[in-house]
Symmetry: C4
Subunit: 239 residues, 4 copies
């Protein structure tokens, strides 16, 4: 398998895992920066993640222009991905989703914070982007680069952001990292919600969050990846 | 496949999807207006949605009279469907269900409102029909046209209504639309319930709801439909 | 299939359905009064419900004495069943379970009441039996006829009772009826719990409960039974 | 099958069951004391529990030193296991997990206590170990014997402990016992969380807890084990 072919296969696996683990349903998407050209990214045509095949994967310029569409209709919200690749050279994979436990936080003034070590990779606190602040009444979708850049600006150097009335966006250093953060963002939100009903919550300390992030390397992520591949019926490649 | 045969196949698929996605259990039903005669509608005989085959589908006059029963026992509550088709020329498919997250709202004075963009198609607020108001102590079932018309009147031009102590009814422009709204009504209720436990909820603005509804066209719905067909083990037809 | 053979087959199906629908896990059991001798009942040997085969079904006298054990170890709590058959000629099937949503009610002073029409068959209110009241510190299990009779006395003419720190017991007129009530007792508890978090709950009126119970006949129950048989991988017999 | 071979097979089954029942996800582990040498224990190489095969099982000295690694990478947190075997001759199997319902309790000042008879084996109250108390800001992982011994000290003679911001540890007299406690610790936490939302909770009395623990013998545990084996697709061995 060539390098590009391998990355596309990995992207298909990422889509299937996110579907299997309940992070995306019929909507939501994951992209990867092009392995041979940092000014391009790869993202499926508009299709439910659990159905995506290699032939669905399209190439885009960072401004969201399809390079060779061949009649395939792109996701409207590809600008989320392009704007993050444009702003962040450290980001090589982006997930956008509507996972269920994060939506309620996006509609409240409570912030998601790491409640257990697996959740530390979401960062010290997950900010909320409200499209209404700068764009007023919209359909809430990130439908142009202005909106994408506004979201990327709010994320700053962070790994995660919620989107009010919409969902979440996650930025990782590669596909496995972005999927890992997305899955544990959902789990952390679910657990935090339960803990908040019991009274004051002891979150991780800032030092603990930093220590866990420094430790979250490919060794641990690959252990989960092997398991998720099996659950999603996808081959596992040792990296 | 002829037009009628196609619609019946689509209706079977709608039943199976509603079952697979947890909107109906052993009870609940979905109908479609007859493609060749707007004064008729198609609805299965009384059977659990996940078991329905084309031969189960019966034809009814709008007042709920079976056209050619051939020994098949109809659902008692077929009047929900007939009354909506009678009152609303824009409605071509109706779902009645007892999906779990909507029941608690029907028993409270809190109203379901769109909390994320996928929920906007339920309308600005979901009204609650209480059979007790005009019919007193009943078995809560819509067992005649009077009750069906009373429910249809409460729905007005809307897409959704809860029924106190009973469930919900959804009206769509076609089968896929009615299924789509039914599924996201359940999801929206589940998420709203969680958000309400965290304090004040920022719902979508009225303008946002209108914008999302204007955008909810077959392109997006079909993306979900393809995914739901696969999950329900049914063939997907491009429309 | 002879009458006894048929009832045993139905009992196996009841066990499998209760397991598939999450009413029992590795523990819990369902019995049926012997079709040829009202002073006997049929109940599996001590085994997880989802594994039970016809050869596991044992015959018991109403006081819990095995008629022909052939080395098979009975459930300790068979006295729950015997005491109800002894006290109630209208009862022909009994379920004992630890279904998850009923346990919290058994540990609180809130009572389960019908919140939707499917829940009406549980009765107007579900009483709670506390073994501690008459028997003090025990292992909470109903391990003799005294305890069984005490529980049966609390149930009176009702269909359901919770057992504090333990689970629930359901009495039905036949296997399908007892399974039906058990499943919707769990669903009703789950929905009520959610509704209680939203403020005051509008339960069914007493008249509505009576009307639904009067209507809950084999026609509706069999519709669910057909569906549950398919989900549990069991043949469906029309009754 | 020889004695060691049998124990390794049982350990593989324990891993698969914990995964199937939702007690572990891609992380978490179970060990067993070596059947021929009480100064050793058996634990898989670092791999997701649902994927573990007999060849993954490694042997360790009580201080966590691998006896014959053959290139296999061990779990970092093997010290949890070693420290408990070192301190407790009654313990022959240890589970460490991040099961979802226990995490919120570890982050609150509410304690898990038995709410139903199946939960009694967790002990009278589940203590919480906070790594921060003696070790300050860490990655929360038990990465050396000092931390392992500190945790074992807090557990004392008990069967369970939560770990703040991390998960739980369970000690049993054999594999089946440790798995049984782990599963019902999760269930008990889930049910207690629901009950606490309804107001004051009637927990089991101290005498009831003692009575149930005295009764929790292999007869009952094996009934569950047979069921869990089937669900996990593993052969069941009568013990």
């Amino acid at each position: 398998m060539g390098k590009l072919e391998y990355v596309i296969d990995e992207l298909v696996t990422g889509n299937r895992i996110l579907a299997r683990e309940g992070v995306v349903d019929s909507f939501g998407h994951i992209s990867v920066r092009h392995p041979n050209n940092p000014q391009r990214f790869l993202l499926s045509r508009a299709r439910a993640p659990d159905l995506i095949e290699p032939a669905d994967v399209m190439e885009f310029a960072l401004d969201g222009t399809p390079v060779d569409a061949r009649g395939r209709a792109p996701y409207l919200e590809r600008f989320i991905h392009g704007a993050l690749y444009e702003a962040r050279s450290d980001v090589n994979s982006v997930v956008h989703n509507h996972s269920e436990s994060v939506i309620p936080f996006g509609a409240s003034n409570k912030r998601i914070k790491p409640i257990f070590h697996m959740g530390a990779s979401i960062g010290h606190e997950v900010p909320v982007w409200d499209s209404h602040d700068h764009f007023g009444d919209t359909s809430l979708l990130v439908e142009n680069m202005d909106m994408g850049r506004d979201l990327a600006k709010l994320m700053g150097k962070g790994a995660t952001a919620l989107m009010r009335g919409h969902g979440a966006t996650v930025a990782g250093r590669n596909i496995r990292h972005a999927v890992y953060i997305s899955i544990y963002l959902e789990v952390n939100a679910r657990l935090q919600q339960q803990a908040m009903q019991m009274g004051d919550v002891k979150f991780l300390t800032a030092g603990e969050v930093d220590n866990v992030i420094a430790r979250t390397a490919s060794f641990g992520i690959n252990r989960a990846w092997e398991n998720w591949c099996r659950r999603a019926g996808r081959p596992f490649h040792v990296e």
